[in-house]
């Protein structure tokens, strides 16, 4: 009762304080926009928080944001007295593509890409990631066109090519004298790259490879850059040498001349208008006896001698194939990290709107209540803020894992990047939808961004590895870790599975608030689920096999457990990065608020249906978790503005409803 009274007092004070002073000029019935900057306090240093969650290259990011904000090419518009930059999505598909290209040229002239393909080392790789994250905040088409050119085309040459390829192609690519694309996917084969039907045969008489599209399902599909701009592509194709198939290999093929004319024996068609990403010219390619010199085989994994001998340093065809997939790993890291920035944009907009928009009075003649003062609205948005913080720390971990890679860490990178790419991009779509709804009708206006981003970013759950397939890879990897440990009777090591070696944690029968906020309990609860699901998966697969099914078939039948397990892995792995980020901070306001966010993140993981499905939490404990979430949301409510300001998205990259939406919609602005 006291608590309820206290809440009402707080609410009343808040309403009284922020109601506009009576003025003879404005009628009392009018709403006025009350800027949250003047009423909300920052209890911690938002600059420090931004540094922590951006993780690296803050100056570089601000420079890039500034480059975009100051140029007419980025379509600045004034709304409510503020400048906003965002592409004109009312442009035709062709116009959007041309604008994307002009923006790339603008970056090129300013030296943004300096070293992106010609320098090596952690520093440049991190700077590149920052560049991609910032471009993605402006527009997904800009991000994607850059990603195809630098990570897929450039990455393929770097990883799959050898010295002479590097010398011949990298500098020209960095300077965009060559515009690259990446022809892997076909109409008939997407995730199953090993099944591509394009055929390349070696002609030892001329020392050339001859490329053919043997049937319609073999046409290259969704090739970003192919429809309008790309001059070259990395082509993935079956390689036949002396009549025998050596599996999928990668070749450099020129598809347009310097003037943009399509090369002989190549046919290109457009993929057409899409639900988003129309600034990227996705195309389809057919090859009709296209001949390329022998040197165009990217030969770091395998080579063909002039007289037609197939030579490979990797004997095992599975491993050889895996090596060809290397460029996709960095793409996945990049996609995972940038999806987090879309969640930041959407939450910054939705929270700012909720701090200025009111709806319904509690009593007649009282001012209406601010959206974010409704516990239900807090319950919708604030857990998503916590999730976004968790994703930020996990993304920083993933980037570091990638740039510090060694041959030994390849498996970990593959599993963690698969898991995080799928989880973050799914989370992002959920966050975008919730934020769109939280902004009501305003969320539907393209200029307000949140709704539009759904169409733009939906593709992230499909490209660079379908999310469901990636998650299957995670559960399969965990399964084999288990089998390997069992077979050799050795302890688990790697992928964060060391907790499997310890005694199984026990969840207390009654969960108090202080237990629920204890990081050890939270970690125990997340480990318990992962451990149990892995045990169950192993048991179910063995059971199916004992009934005569093949391992593959057994896995297919146990897909539900496998899905639950891969989610459990992601949640636990993300949580671990949160704990580490928190542990590295000195005591103080930053650490305090992060501790609260970490608890909120852990508790929303515990709300996952698997906790009840498999009985890790009793019905009573489930109710305690729920209650604690509500409690934490109201504790974080006063920090809401500071928490989203720390995302570091400049005002110009948010949208009119995030600021003075009354002025932005006034008659004088029509």
């Amino acid at each position: 009762m006291d608590r309820a009274f206290q809440r009402t007092q707080i609410l009343t004070n808040h309403l009284l304080r922020s109601s506009p002073p009576p003025s003879p000029l404005s009628s009392n019935a009018c709403l006025s926009y009350s800027p949250p900057e003047l009423s909300e306090n920052h209890a911690f240093d938002v600059k420090e928080m931004r540094k922590l969650i951006d993780g690296h290259d803050v100056e570089e990011r601000d420079w890039l944001f500034g480059l975009m904000r100051q140029s007419k090419l980025f379509n600045p518009r004034v709304r409510g007295g503020k400048v906003f930059v965002s592409p004109d999505y009312n442009h035709s598909m062709e116009q959007q593509r041309e604008m994307t290209w002009k923006r790339i040229e603008y970056f090129l002239e300013r030296g943004v890409f300096k070293g992106w393909l010609t320098e090596e080392g952690e520093e440049i790789e991190m700077r590149k990631f920052a560049g991609f994250e910032v471009s993605s905040v402006y527009d997904h088409s800009l991000f994607t066109k850059l990603g195809v050119h630098f990570f897929l085309w450039g990455g393929a040459i770097k990883f799959l090519g050898t010295k002479h390829h590097h010398e011949k192609w990298l500098r020209d690519s960095e300077n965009y004298l060559i515009k690259g694309c990446f022809a892997m996917t076909e109409l008939g084969h997407g995730s199953n790259v090993r099944g591509v039907e394009t055929i390349t045969t070696y002609d030892s008489n001329t020392g050339e490879f001859v490329i053919n599209t043997p049937c319609e399902s073999a046409q290259k599909y969704w090739i970003g850059g192919a429809a309008n701009h790309a001059t070259h592509t990395v082509l993935f194709s079956q390689l036949y040498v002396n009549g025998s198939n050596q599996g999928v290999h990668a070749f450099i093929v020129q598809i347009r001349d310097a003037d943009g004319n399509i090369c002989p024996n190549i046919r290109i068609a457009d993929c057409g208008h899409k639900i988003g990403l129309n600034g990227v010219d996705n195309g389809r390619i057919w090859f009709d006896n296209v001949r390329v010199p022998r040197e165009n085989l990217l030969n770091s994994v395998a080579d063909v001698s002039p007289d037609g001998k197939y030579l490979s340093s990797i004997e095992n065809p599975d491993q050889r194939f895996a090596a060809f997939m290397a460029p996709l790993t960095v793409g996945r890291v990049n996609i995972a990290c940038t999806s987090v920035y879309q969640s930041k944009v959407a939450l910054a907009i939705a929270i700012r709107y909720a701090l200025t928009r009111r709806a319904f009075s509690l009593k007649p003649n009282e001012p209406e209540v601010l959206l974010l003062d409704y516990p239900s609205h807090q319950g919708r948005l604030i857990p998503l803020v916590a999730k976004t913080y968790a994703m930020s720390f996990a993304a920083n971990y993933l980037k570091m894992l990638y740039v510090k890679r060694t041959p030994d860490s390849n498996k970990t990178i593959h599993i963690v990047s698969s898991s995080f790419k799928a989880t973050f991009t799914w989370n992002n779509m959920q966050i975008l939808q919730e934020c769109r709804e939280a902004c009501g009708g305003q969320g539907l206006k393209t200029e307000n961004r949140v709704g539009h981003l759904k169409g733009e970013y939906d593709v992230q759950s499909t490209f660079e590895g379908d999310n469901n397939i990636l998650m299957q890879q995670v559960s399969k990897a965990l399964f084999s870790e288990y089998m390997a440990a069992q077979k050799r009777n050795k302890a688990f090591k790697g992928l964060g599975l060391e907790h499997m070696n310890k005694p199984c944690p026990v969840i207390p029968s009654q969960l108090t608030s202080s237990t629920l906020r204890c990081s050890q309990f939270q970690m125990d609860a997340l480990c318990l689920r992962e451990r149990d699901l892995l045990n169950r998966l192993v048991a179910d697969v063995s059971k199916c096999k004992s009934e005569g099914e093949s391992t593959q078939q057994a896995f297919l039948m146990c897909y539900q457990l496998a899905e639950d397990l891969s989610r459990a892995f992601s949640d636990r792995a993300m949580f671990q990065t949160f704990i580490e980020a928190e542990a590295n901070l000195p005591a103080g306001s930053l650490k305090d608020v992060l501790g609260t966010l970490r608890s909120l993140y852990a508790l929303i993981c515990l709300e996952d249906v698997s906790y009840v499905r498999y009985g890790y939490l009793s019905v009573e404990n489930g109710a305690s978790v729920r209650q604690e979430i509500t409690e934490i949301c109201s504790e974080l409510r006063p920090h809401a503005l500071a928490l989203i300001t720390s995302f570091g998205i400049p005002d110009a990259f948010l949208s009119p409803i995030a600021f003075n939406w009354i002025e932005a919609n006034s008659w004088s602005s029509v």
Binding site: R17, S18, P20, P21, S23, S26, S32, Y33, S34, P35, E37, L38, S39, E59, E60, D62, W63, F65, G66, L67, R69, Q70, S71, G80, G81, K82, V83, E109, R110, G111, P650, D651, A652, F659, N660, E663, S666
Partner: protein, 383 residues
């Protein structure tokens, strides 16, 4: 109707005319450089006028040939010598508070910039709603030549000029005339000085606080001056190409590349100016304007206050004192900067200027509360 409420010796003269208040900076011999007393007085007057329902408009102008040549930096240096860096910090704390008050003022401020307007003079005018330039206007933010950096909220108002013109003004301290000020948006109007008395009378008679009405009154006296042929504003393309580069070093080499392609006195002058400025000042100024472009005016002033405290403390570089010696005191115009070269100043060093001052009882700038006022939309947009 008019009643004088101040004596001739006051450093700020006050005239009450109907619903308008005319404040005149009155230190003509010092080109109206802002003393600590003037800043306190202005703060007092702006606060009182905001609370006074009879005031709808505040006009700010300067006596003599300057609007205001800046903060009285020589006095600041003197105070620091006598009382330590905190004395300097206190001056800037008060000045930046005034800048914030002006930037978030709920009433209209019209500044008549009929003469020199530099440094702190820009801080006292650019944040207000209307800035009237004349044929006598002479603008500059010359701090990098003085071992300081463009402060008084310049990282807010310079960074919002078209393209990368702000970086150009900020780093080179280049001077603009009235026509150029209008073209780039530093001034909202251009009025021939001969028409100023009539404009003032019309504003005092207006009895309005409506932005549109006041703007159209000033508009009746304004004109569109043409830019002189050699105006730097006609070189925006070169400025954008060069001053958008990532670092000061990159900006210099971009300018040098331009110079290779064509013989152009302006480019070599610009290069020379940059090479004469304090390297530390250049680096922190560039970082500041780039950060300011993405922040509201309040956070800009808070950041600048941190920076200015580090400059006053002189922990890393004492260029500010050297600059004041060479330009203001000894006037030998030959400062010896330390560190002397751009490459000697690392990013980590620049970082220091943006961090909190590690000193007991030091605090970030506390902005005055503005929530009790009904702020106009153009103010809300700056927050």
């Amino acid at each position: 109707m008019a009643s004088s409420v101040s004596s001739q010796h006051d450093e700020v003269l006050v005239e009450e005319k109907s619903f308008a208040r005319i404040l005149t900076l009155n230190r003509p011999k010092q080109l109206n450089a802002l003393s600590s007393q003037m800043i306190s007085r202005l703060l007092e007057l702006f606060l009182a006028n905001e609370d006074d329902p009879n005031v709808k408009l505040v006009i700010l102008k300067g006596k003599g040939r300057a609007f205001c040549a800046g903060g009285d930096v020589a006095a600041v240096v003197h105070d620091i010598r006598a009382g330590g860096w905190r004395a300097g910090a206190n001056f800037f704390m008060k000045e930046f508070t005034l800048n914030y008050l002006m930037a978030t003022y709920s009433k209209l401020q019209v500044s008549i910039l009929n003469g020199i307007v530099m440094g702190g003079g820009n801080g006292a005018s650019m944040h207000g709603r209307f800035r009237v330039a004349t044929e006598n206007s002479l603008f500059a933010m010359p701090e990098t030549a003085l071992g300081l950096f463009p402060d008084v909220g310049a990282s807010y108002f310079l960074s919002r000029l078209p393209g990368f013109f702000g970086e150009y003004l900020c780093l080179t301290g280049a001077r603009l005339d009235g026509a150029e000020m209008l073209a780039c948006g530093l001034a909202t109007h251009f009025v021939q000085s001969a028409k100023l008395p009539a404009l003032e009378a019309a504003l005092c008679a207006a009895d309005s606080s409506d932005t549109v009405i006041i703007s159209s009154i000033i508009g009746q006296y304004s004109e569109q001056p043409s830019l002189k042929e050699q105006s730097v504003y006609n070189r925006l393309d070169v400025i954008d190409r060069c001053f958008s580069q990532k670092t000061v070093e990159d900006i210099l080499s971009a300018l040098e590349n331009e110079a290779v392609n064509r013989r152009d006195g302006w480019i070599s002058t610009t290069i020379q100016t940059l090479k004469k400025a304090s390297p530390t000042s250049l680096k922190i100024s560039l970082r500041s304007i780039r950060a300011g472009r993405l922040q509201g005016v309040g956070p800009c002033l808070i950041r600048e206050y941190r920076m200015v405290c580090h400059v006053m403390r002189g922990e890393f570089s004492k260029d500010f004192f050297e600059g004041c010696r060479a330009i203001l005191l000894d006037k030998d115009k030959n400062p010896k900067w330390e560190p002397s070269k751009l490459e000697l100043i690392t990013d980590t060093t620049v970082d220091i200027y943006f961090s909190k001052v590690k000193n007991e009882d030091w605090e970030d700038l506390k902005l005055p509360a503005r929530s009790k006022f009904n702020l106009p939309p153009y103010v809300i947009a700056k927050l």
